[in-house]
C-alpha cells in the first residue's frame, strides 16, 4: 500500500488545463496505486471537476504527463479511458432513472446471444448478472426489472460502482458519491469503496466530507484554486489537519468571530 510497492496504476505529473485564458488546473501531480484510496478534496471551484474530467478522458490536458500503468496516454473520449480500465461514476449522471436496473447495468456493454441479424440483447442473462453482481457487494435487489428511479440515492451509487467493478475497472473515479446522502446511505457507499480497495482497485474518491475521507482514504490531495496544496499519506497528516483543511475551518473561525462581534455589538447598543 506504500508508494514504493510497484508502479502506480494512474499517474499525472505537472498537469495544467486552460480554458481560453482561464487556468482551471495548474501543475497538479498525483498518483494512485492498486488497492489504495486517494481522496481528492477541495472547495467548489477548486478544479476538482476539471481534474476528474481530464482523468476520465472528457478533457485533454493542456500541459503535463498522464500515465496509466507506466505508459503515457492521450484519451480522445471517455470510451478510451474506459478501455484502459479507468471508470468514472458521476454523482448525478451515473444512472438513467426510467430504465430498469438490469438495463442500466449493461447500458453500452450489453450481453448478446444469437447470430447475425438476430443477435439480441440477452435480457435474462443481464438480469441474472446484475442481481448476482449486486449480491456480491452485499446488495439484495428485489427485481432487476424495477426502474432505477425507484432506488434511493445511495443504492443508485452502489449500482453504478458495482457496474464499473464488473466491467473490469482498475481505477475507479468517484465524483462526490456520498454528497446528498443520509448517514446510513453514505455508510453503504463507503463500504463499497472499502470493498473495491480490498479487491485491488485504485480508487479516486472526491468528497467534501472530511469524516468520509478519513474513514476510507489512504492518501489525500487537497486542491485550492486550481493548485494542489499537497499530497499526503495517512501518516503524514492528522485527521484534525484534514478536517481543518477540508472544511475551510479558517474561514469558519473567522466567520464565527465576526458573528460574535456582531452579536456583542448588538447587545451593547
Amino acid at each position: 500500500m506504500s508508494d514504493n510497492g510497484g508502479a502506480p496504476l494512474l499517474e499525472v505529473e505537472h498537469l495544467t488545463k486552460y480554458f481560453g485564458s482561464v487556468i482551471a488546473l495548474r501543475d497538479v501531480s498525483l498518483r494512485v496505486y492498486p488497492g489504495q484510496v486517494l481522496c481528492l478534496l477541495g472547495d467548489n471551484g477548486a478544479g476538482k471537476s476539471t481534474l476528474i474530467k481530464t482523468l476520465s478522458g472528457v478533457h485533454k490536458p493542456s500541459e503535463g504527463e498522464y500515465r496509466v500503468e507506466g505508459n503515457s496516454v492521450e484519451f480522445e473520449s471517455p470510451r478510451d479511458a474506459l478501455d484502459r480500465g479507468i471508470a468514472t461514476v458521476y454523482q448525478d449522471l451515473a444512472m438513467i432513472p426510467l430504465m430498469s436496473i438490469a438495463r442500466n447495468f449493461f447500458l453500452g456493454s450489453e450481453p448478446t446471444r444469437g447470430w447475425g441479424p438476430f443477435r439480441r440483447f440477452d435480457i435474462k442473462q443481464a438480469s441474472e448478472l446484475a442481481r448476482s453482481e449486486m449480491a456480491k457487494m452485499g446488495i439484495d435487489i428485489r427485481d432487476p426489472a424495477q426502474p432505477v428511479g425507484t432506488l434511493s440515492g445511495g443504492e443508485r451509487q452502489s449500482v453504478a460502482i458495482a457496474r464499473a467493478v464488473y466491467f473490469g475497472a482498475k481505477v475507479l473515479i468517484l465524483d462526490e458519491p456520498t454528497a446528498a446522502l443520509g448517514v446510513k446511505q453514505a455508510g453503504t457507499v463507503l463500504r463499497y469503496i472499502h470493498q473495491s480497495r480490498e479487491a485491488g482497485i485504485a480508487v479516486i474518491f472526491i468528497t467534501h466530507n472530511p469524516h468520509h475521507a478519513w474513514a476510507v482514504g489512504d492518501r489525500f490531495t487537497i486542491l485550492k484554486r486550481g493548485r494542489s496544496l499537497g499530497y499526503f499519506g495517512k501518516t503524514d497528516i492528522t485527521r484534525e489537519e484534514v478536517v481543518h483543511m477540508m472544511s475551510g475551518a479558517e474561514e469558519l473561525d473567522a466567520l464565527s468571530h465576526e458573528l460574535d462581534m456582531i452579536s456583542t455589538a448588538g447587545r451593547q447598543s
Partner: protein
C-alpha cells in the same frame, strides 16, 4: 430497502411475489392507448354497427391507421430517443414528388425513381440528425426549419419543372406494376381486399418493437432519451444513434409516400401536410414520453389505430368530418393526463 440484509436468501423471493401481474400491466406504457382503442371501437360499433363492423369497414380504418401508424412508430422511436421530427409530413410530399418527377419527366422506371426518392429522404433525415448533433439546438427548431424548407423546395421544384403541383397518371408509366405489387395492392381476406400497407405497418411495428426491447440499439435508444450524458459516459455512440433515428423517421415518411403513390397513382406536393403533428399525437397517446426515455412502438400502433377508427367511424356514423380535428386535439390532452396518472400510480405501487 435493499441494503446489506443479504444474509436472508429467501427474502428476495418473497418480495418478488409482491410485484404481481396487475402492477406489471399497470406499468406498461401502452395501457392508456389500449383502453382508448377499445373504447372508440365499442363506441362506433354501437353507433354505426352496419358499415363500421363489416370487413370492408375494418379494412378502411386499418388502411387509414396504417399510413399514420408507419410514421407514428418511427416517431415513437425518435421520441423515446429524446428528439422530435416535424419534417416528416414535408418529407412525405418530397418523396412522392421526386418519384413522380423522375418517372414522368426523365423517363426512369417508377421503382428506380422511388429508390432515388428514398436516398433523397434518407439524406434529409441525415442532415436533420447531423444538424441536431452539431448545433446542439433542440430538434424541434431544426426540424421546424426543415418542415418549411423541404415543403418549399418540393413545391418550387415541382412547379418549375412541370408547371403544376400535382402529377397524375403514374399507372401508365413503366415500373408501376412492380411498385403496385409491393406497396399498392390489396390482399383478399374473406372476399374483402385489405391494403398491403396494413401488412407493412405491422411488420415495421414488429421490427421496431423487437429492436427496442431485445437489441443493444434499443437499450441505447432508451438510454439516449433517458439521460444523454450518462449514456455517452458509458460508451453509447450517441451521435450516430441520433442520426440513425432521424433517418428512420425519414424512411417511414418515404414508405408512406411510396404507398400513396402506388395506391392513388399520383403525387401531390401538398401531401402529408400536418401529418407530422398527427404522428406525434399518435405516439404520445401511445404512452411515449415527450421528454424521452420511455415509451413503446406498440403504443404508437394503438395511437394510430384510435385515429383510424375515429376518422372512418365518423364517416360511417354520418357525422360531419369537420369534427375529427376537435377529437384529435382533445384526445391528445386527455391521453397525456391519463398516461401521467397511470405512470404516477405505477411508481407508487412499486414503492
Amino acid at each position: 430497502m435493499l441494503v446489506a440484509e443479504s444474509l436472508m436468501p429467501t427474502a428476495s423471493d418473497e418480495r418478488m411475489a409482491s410485484s404481481g401481474l396487475l402492477k406489471k400491466v399497470l406499468t406498461r406504457p401502452e395501457l392508456g392507448a389500449l383502453s382508448g382503442a377499445i373504447l372508440v371501437w365499442v363506441f362506433f360499433a354501437v353507433l354505426a354497427p352496419g358499415g363500421f363492423l363489416s370487413l370492408r369497414g375494418t379494412a378502411s380504418y386499418l388502411e387509414v391507421s396504417s399510413h399514420l401508424g408507419l410514421m407514428a412508430v418511427a416517431v415513437a422511436l425518435l421520441m423515446i430517443g429524446g428528439e422530435f421530427d416535424l419534417s416528416i409530413g414535408s418529407l412525405l410530399g418530397l418523396s412522392g414528388a421526386i418519384t413522380a418527377i423522375l418517372a414522368t419527366q426523365f423517363g426512369l422506371p417508377l421503382y428506380v425513381s422511388a429508390l432515388v426518392a428514398l436516398i433523397a429522404a434518407l439524406l434529409v433525415g441525415f442532415v436533420n440528425g447531423w444538424l441536431v448533433v452539431r448545433t446542439r439546438l433542440p430538434s424541434f427548431i431544426i426540424t421546424l426549419g426543415s418542415l418549411f424548407i423541404v415543403r418549399g423546395l418540393t413545391i418550387g421544384i415541382t412547379r418549375t419543372i412541370t408547371g403544376r403541383t400535382q402529377i397524375g397518371g403514374l399507372d401508365d408509366l413503366p415500373g408501376y406494376g412492380f411498385l403496385f405489387g409491393l406497396f399498392g395492392r390489396d390482399i383478399p381476406i374473406a372476399g374483402v381486399g385489405f391494403p398491403i400497407s396494413i401488412l407493412w405497418w405491422f411488420v415495421f411495428a414488429a421490427v421496431a418493437t423487437w429492436v427496442l426491447l431485445r437489441t443493444k440499439v434499443g437499450n441505447w435508444i432508451f438510454g439516449l432519451g433517458g439521460a444523454e450524458e450518462a449514456a455517452r459516459n458509458v460508451g453509447v455512440p450517441v451521435e450516430r444513434l441520433k442520426i440513425g433515428l432521424f433517418m428512420t423517421t425519414a424512411f417511414a415518411a418515404w414508405l408512406v409516400a411510396t404507398i400513396q403513390v402506388a395506391v392513388v397513382k399520383s403525387a401531390d406536393t401538398l401531401r402529408g401536410e400536418q401529418q407530422e403533428f398527427v404522428a406525434i399525437i399518435a405516439a404520445v397517446i401511445g404512452g411515449n414520453l415527450l421528454t424521452g426515455g420511455y415509451g413503446s412502438a406498440i403504443g404508437a400502433v394503438l395511437g394510430a389505430l384510435i385515429f383510424g377508427i375515429v376518422r372512418q367511424g365518423i364517416v360511417f356514423a354520418g357525422v360531419d368530418a369537420d369534427w375529427f380535428n376537435v377529437f384529435l386535439g382533445a384526445m391528445l390532452i386527455v391521453a397525456v393526463l391519463v398516461n401521467n396518472a397511470i405512470r404516477t400510480a405505477a411508481e407508487r405501487a412499486r414503492n
